[in-house]
Structures are given as structure tokens and as C-alpha cells.
Symmetry: C2
DNA sequence: CGATTTCAAGACCGATCGGTTCATATTTCG
DNA sequence: CGAAATATGAACCGATCGGTCTTGAAATCG
């Protein structure tokens, strides 16, 4: 005979807050201020958690930061999976992908910057957990861009002499550089024009 | 009758350390660790100054950081002035400029990153002094690249349809993006190949 | 009910932060 | 020499850091 509920239910008061929502709020803080400049009170205010609850749920500041970073990366990946949908036109995908960067690079979004780029510059080389995440994200992004470029080349939509894999590396550098320059000059019109001119060099 | 020395000489013990050398050592520390992660003891160790001397000479941590940032920017500007020498071939200048980025992006240099990019991501938007410096540097760099591209275009060395001013914006984004990606993957061969492929899109 | 668990609030911890001050030694000057 | 300036190193400052612990209320179970 099988027990009806082989998994033991917790006995006491159930958790009353949404862990994932707390991670998202914490992500917002790290995103705006960076890792070192974010203090515990900032996180408590944003998550509306008490010190005790936050530590019980996430361990420590560094672990919470990694959760936030993972969340940021997951969001970026699902966005790319939509933009680079293999059923759609690859050039349309590239345009959508770049349009997203223009958007995230304009006005307040631009001034806020990119958590990934900021983390890479602040912590990479001194934090192995961060290193792994940033490195694998850039590789994944490059692979998706390269795949789109390959499909575009097969369809004869690439300019002469464009090689998908090296063009993908160029494109990744370009968009991450956009994020850097956009921190001080988040001008939508210029970003858009720059992206358009960039794409003109690669698309037939 | 004129006094022989109208400028008053200081009476006591003269300064015994080189201010500019101290700024350079401080720059190295900020460069490696970032602003927030750099503590006073780090700066004292690097400059070999006592707390008192450092504060007497530079005021506070923030002022010293600005001096270090100014030094970094000045170095970058003089480098560009050499690379983009108006007497030389503009395409050679662009190649030299990009070769410098490949070099600074490889191995230990790459892992160290770029003080300007790191500062932009860490402090821009929250520190007006930093904002001004970063913004004007990017503008100055873009102007120099645009000038070189203009000269190249006049000499018929640019690919069809390349417009110097927008290409300059693209190039600036590209090299700054290189610095970001190079933090986790400072591979000389790949950087070099990426730069070469990039230039192929713009140079005839 | 009583056991159990989670909650918020805040006291508390040692360490470190950026910054000031002080005592003392040293080096230049008139 | 004695005044003036700079050097060092350590003591000291209040504030804040990340992190732990306690308290007492609230919520859920058997």
C-alpha cells in the first residue's frame, strides 16, 4: 500500500512572499547600482523583506546576486530565442535583435545600462561564479547570432565576403559597445542610425 | 627696483615624493579593482604614502580618482594623436589604432580591462565629474576616428557606401565592446581576426 | 490546543569604511 | 640656531559594512 502523500508537508506557517519576485526586485537594485555599491538596506527596501527572511531565503549577498544575474541572463536568452526564431526570416531576426538594443539603450533605459556589462567590468576575473556566467552567455549569444547569419547567408542575404562566425563576433562586440557608449549618451536617434549603418555593412 | 625673486619660495622641508608618479600608481589600483572596491589601504600601499600625505596632496579618495582618470584619458589621447597623425596614411592609422586595442585586449592586459569602460559602467549617471570626462572622451575619440575615415574616403580607400561619421560611431562601439568581451575571453588570435574582419567591411 | 514554522523589527557583532588629528622626526630656509 | 614646511605612523572618529541572533506575533498543521 502506498501512502497517499509520500512527500512530507511543512507543518508551520507557510512562506508568505514570492521568492522569484524578490529576486527580480534585487536584480533591479544590482542593475542600477552595481554589486559593491549595493548595500543590504537597499536590498531590504527593494524586496520588502526583513534581514532575517532575506538571509534565510538566499544565504548571503553574493548568492542573491548570482540569482539576480541568472535571472537577467535567462530573460536575455528567452528574448533572443524569440528574436532568432528559426521559423522566421533571419534578417528580420537580426533587425529585431538590434532594435531591442536600441530600445534598451535609449533614455532612462540607456542610462541604467546593462547588468551583464557592468558585472563583467566590475567582477570578471575576480569571481569565478561570475566569470562562468558571463563567459557562457557571450558564447551563447554569439552562437545564436552566428546561426542567424548562417541562415541569412544560405538565403543569399549577406553582403559579399561576410563570414557568419566572424561577423557574429563583430556583432556581439558592437552591441556590447553600444551599451557602454549609451551610458553617457543614450540618444535613441543616433543609436538607431548607428545600428542601421552597421547592418548595411553586412546585409545585402 | 624689482625684487630678484618675486615668487615666494616655500620655507620648510620640500615635497619628497613625485605627485604624478603617485597618481599613476593610484590609477593602477583603480584600474585593477574599480572605484568602490578600492580601499584606502590599497592606495596607501600602492603609492607608498602615509594617510596624511595622501590626503594633504589629493584631498580625498574621489579627487584622487578623478586625477587618475584624467591621467588615463590623457594617455589614451596622446596615443591616439600618434596613431592618427595627420601626416601619415589614415588607413595605417586606423590599423595601428585597432592593433593597440588587440594588444590591450590580450592575456593579462585584457583581463585587467579598461578603466574608462569600467568607470562608465560603475559611476556614469551617478557622478557628474565622471560623466563629463567619459562623455567628452568618447566624443573626442569619435572625432579622431571620423577625421581619419574622412581622409581615407578622400583618398578613395573606403568601401562603397561608407559614411565617415556614422562609421566612426560604429567603430567606437566596436572597440569598446571588444574591451567588454575581452574581460572574460582575452584571446589575442580571435581579437586580431575579429578586428581584421571588421576592418574588411569598411576599407576597400 | 500545542507544536511548528515564518514573519518583521531591531539589537547586536566584529570588521572595515573614508577621513581627521596628533606627536614626532626630518629637511629646508633665513 | 630657530622658524617653517613635510614626512610618517598610529591613534582616533563616527558611520557603515555584511551577517547573526533574539523576540514576539502570526499562521498553519495534527
Amino acid at each position: 500500500m502506498r501512502r497517499p502523500t509520500p512527500v512530507q508537508l511543512p507543518r508551520g506557517r507557510p512562506r508568505s512572499f514570492d521568492t522569484e519576485a524578490a529576486v527580480e526586485r534585487a536584480m533591479d537594485v544590482f542593475w542600477s547600482r552595481g554589486y559593491h555599491a549595493t548595500a543590504l538596506p537597499d536590498l531590504l527596501r527593494a524586496t520588502k523583506l526583513s534581514r532575517g527572511s532575506l538571509y534565510a531565503a538566499f544565504g548571503d549577498k553574493h548568492s542573491l546576486f548570482l540569482r539576480a544575474l541568472d535571472r537577467y541572463i535567462a530573460d536575455a536568452m528567452t528574448r533572443m530565442d524569440i528574436e532568432f526564431d528559426p521559423c522566421g526570416d533571419p534578417v528580420d531576426g537580426l533587425r529585431a535583435y538590434l532594435a531591442g538594443y536600441v530600445d534598451r539603450n535609449s533614455g532612462a533605459n540607456g542610462r541604467r545600462g546593462c547588468l551583464l556589462v557592468a558585472t563583467a567590468m566590475e567582477l570578471a576575473g575576480r569571481d569565478v561564479d561570475v566569470d562562468r556566467r558571463i563567459g557562457s552567455f557571450f558564447k551563447a549569444m554569439e552562437a545564436r547570432v552566428a546561426a542567424a547569419l548562417s541562415r541569412a547567408k544560405a538565403a543569399g542575404q549577406l553582403a559579399d565576403g561576410v563570414e557568419p562566425s566572424s561577423a557574429a563576433r563583430i556583432l556581439v562586440c558592437f552591441v556590447e559597445g553600444l551599451r557602454v557608449v549609451g551610458k553617457t549618451a543614450p540618444t535613441r536617434i543616433i543609436s538607431q542610425a548607428t545600428v542601421d549603418a552597421f547592418l548595411d555593412r553586412f546585409i545585402r
